[in-house]
Symmetry: C2
Subunit: 112 residues, 2 copies
């Protein structure tokens, strides 16, 4: 199986996370599972990459965090959830546009 080098995805990890968050707030472990599922296991984000992305993105104002109970039991076990902000939406849309150009550009250097 062809491994995807992280250097390519670098700069699109944020976009992937934001994409997941378009469907509503989520948290680290869940997001990582969704990325794996969506890509049929072709891309698995590293934990450290994911959590450091959260820190960066919250600083950038692309996401907001809040804590909530893990289940409805009210036993006090908390999880950190993230929600996409308006700025994050803007960023996401810009990234989608950028991707079109990038695809076009790189394709010119690919021969099969």
């Amino acid at each position: 199986m062809v491994e995807i080098s992280s250097d390519v995805i670098r700069g699109y990890n944020d976009t992937m996370i934001l994409f997941i968050l378009l469907n509503g707030p989520s948290y680290g472990y869940e997001i990582s599972k969704q990325i794996r599922n969506i890509t049929d296991g072709k891309y698995v984000i590293k934990e450290t990459t994911l959590y450091s992305a959260f820190t960066r993105m919250e600083k950038n104002g692309h996401i907001e965090s809040f804590t909530a109970d893990q289940d409805g039991s009210g036993n006090g076990k908390k999880r950190t959830y993230y929600r996409i902000t308006d700025l994050g939406m803007q960023y996401y849309r810009a990234k989608c546009e950028e991707w079109d150009i990038t695809q076009e550009v790189v394709a010119k250097f690919i021969r099969h």
Copy 2:
């Protein structure tokens, strides 16, 4: 105009350079011009990025360098040329395959 973030291209600069070298040996300035032309100015590789790529790629065994006269005048003015190696060819082909997967993967996170 949409600017391409270098983080995306990161990891494909080498591939671009190798693509140019498929048509025979070339040198820094010429390669940089060709990349600009091929992409209609949409991507312009920075000089420092280019030359540090050369160093890395030669160390990796993907390219080989040699010096030759700048013109036929024999006035002694030299240029450093680079030529793709067999290993470089292998790497290039692998990158092309990888690109297909990458494209597929990233596309799943793009919405228009």
